[in-house]
């Protein structure tokens, strides 16, 4: 009975994480389309939400990586997964509060790894899987997106640079409807699957699914897709209010190139099962499209922050995940620990959110 209560809390927490993931990342998906006037904010957000939902159904390779290549599925419990999710959400809230750019994906993986280490030690950690399928792709993907962004904008300017600007701008705006749609689809494919992987891992740990033969239940796919789409749609309205001051100035060719670079890298990575930080990949594409035109146009400070985030997020979320697991164990192995920690986490989250809103500061998205 206790196990089922914890499982319900885990599923709820995972879907909340998925919702915040969509909420956070809306800016990345729609900002370029809106800033180049390729789409109105309302249409861009609605399409992004719809394609995020659709993207979640495309593949389960990333979910399989999360469920089988990061930690040993047989060595963990729903409480461990819960503690990992708390670690990820707390890290996200903390970085959100201080305005630091961080990756929800790395926070999730870090949180789960930290909780597993606290519970059973390092034996259940798939070190090779984390290095080969998470860390190295995480470093390489934004670099590849940057290179593609440079190549794409050079091609676009070479082919269309001598034409009258009017038709070119209109043409690339039209192209951005497609590239923006692909980016939203790619985002849904990669990010929604991380939640699917975590919920599946919890179901295996609780004995609801066999530990052999990885399979994501349909209700998990549908609920994860719905949560990320709802988060995207909800997050979008905040973006619309604050976009005037925060979006990088770019032309429609740059917007098309950046979105195309991001979508290509994320879709290809999802196909091969690499759980990426979509934020960092899209940032790489945007920087590449900027650098291809003029190197000084790139906000290199943002690149520096991304590098800092690479170093901090995994250990930071892992530390909170480990501490969360330790806290739940004070109340024994039953459901009391997760229930109390959930209540505390909700109160902390609401307090931070209220403080931020009271100060009237725009909410940074990462």
């Amino acid at each position: 009975m206790d196990g089922d209560i914890v499982l319900v809390i885990v599923v709820g927490t995972a879907l909340v994480f998925d919702f915040t993931n969509g909420f956070h990342d809306t800016a990345n998906v729609v900002a370029t389309s809106i800033s180049t006037h390729a789409m109105s904010p309302r249409v861009a957000v609605a399409i992004a939400a719809l394609l995020n939902f659709a993207g979640a159904f495309i593949s389960i390779e990333v979910a399989a990586t999360i469920a089988s290549d990061v930690v040993e599925a047989t060595a963990i419990t729903p409480t461990v997964i819960f503690a990992g999710l708390v670690g990820a959400i707390c890290w996200n809230l903390t970085t959100w509060y201080f305005g630091l750019p961080s990756s929800s994906s790395h926070a999730l993986i870090g949180g789960v790894v930290g909780a597993v280490i606290a519970a059973v030690g390092t034996a259940a950690i798939e070190g090779e899987g984390i290095l080969g399928k998470v860390l190295i792709p995480a470093v390489l993907a934004p670099i590849v997106a940057f290179v593609i962004g440079v190549i794409a904008i050079v091609i676009a300017y070479r082919v269309c640079g001598r034409l009258r600007p009017g038709p070119v701008t209109r043409g690339f705006r039209l192209g951005q409807i497609v590239s923006g749609g692909m980016l939203a689809l790619a985002h849904g494919t990669n990010d929604a699957q991380k939640t699917m992987g975590v919920i599946t891992l919890a179901l295996i740990a609780n004995g609801n699914l066999p530990s052999t033969g990885f399979e994501v239940p349909t209700w998990v796919v549908v609920s994860a897709a719905s949560a990320i789409a709802l988060g995207t749609y909800t997050g979008g309205w905040r973006i619309i209010r604050t976009m005037g001051t925060r979006i990088i100035k770019m032309d429609s060719a740059q917007g098309f190139s950046a979105q195309g670079a991001g979508a290509a890298v994320i879709l290809a990575s999802s196909h091969f099962g690499y759980p990426l930080s979509t934020t960092q990949v899209i940032a790489g594409g945007v920087m590449g499209a900027g650098a291809g035109k003029r190197v000084s146009a790139v906000r290199w400070g943002v690149a520096g922050n991304i590098v800092i985030a690479w170093f901090l997020t995994l250990p930071g979320a892992a530390a909170i995940g480990a501490a969360s697991y330790g806290f739940t164990q004070i109340f024994g192995d039953g459901a009391a620990g997760p229930v109390i920690l959930s209540a505390l986490a909700i109160m902390l989250g609401l307090t931070l959110f209220a403080q931020r809103i009271r100060r009237g500061q725009p909410v940074p998205t990462v």
């Binding site: 495309i58 593949s59 390779e61 070190g127 090779e128 290095l131 080969g132 190295i136 792709p137 390489l140 590849v144 997106a145 290179v147 593609i148 190549i151 794409a152 091609i155 676009a156 070479r158 082919v159 269309c160 034409l163 009258r164 038709p167 070119v168 043409g171 690339f172 192209g175 497609v178 590239s179 692909m182 689809l185 494919t189 098309f256 190139s257 195309g260 670079a261 979508a263 290509a264 890298v265 879709l267 290809a268 990575s269 999802s270 196909h271 091969f272 690499y274």
Partner: protein
């Protein structure tokens, strides 16, 4: 073996280099084909409009042809990308 020397060896052991390379190549090829085809389509349609304005009908037809082919390649690449994902 020193730690510095063993790190690349460790990375080489645990990283599926072929899959990573496939991912990078697929990303680059896909994005380049999509950008090039979209750019050529825009070039074709914009040039066709210019040619029609100066009564160079044959050149305009050629530009429209280029734009149509590039548009088809653009749509085909997007469709292929989605199909590969769906069958993955």
């Amino acid at each position: 073996m020193s730690a510095a020397a063993s790190l690349p060896a460790l990375v080489a052991t645990v990283v599926d280099g072929e899959a990573l390379l496939d991912t990078a190549v697929a990303s680059i090829v896909g994005a380049v084909v999509v950008t090039l085809s979209a750019s050529l389509a825009i070039y074709g349609f914009a040039t066709a409009a210019e040619m029609r304005r100066v009564d160079r009908d044959l050149a305009a037809i050629g530009a429209v042809g280029l734009a149509m082919v590039a548009s088809l390649v653009f749509a085909g690449t997007i469709g292929l990308g989605i199909a590969v994902m769906l069958t993955g």
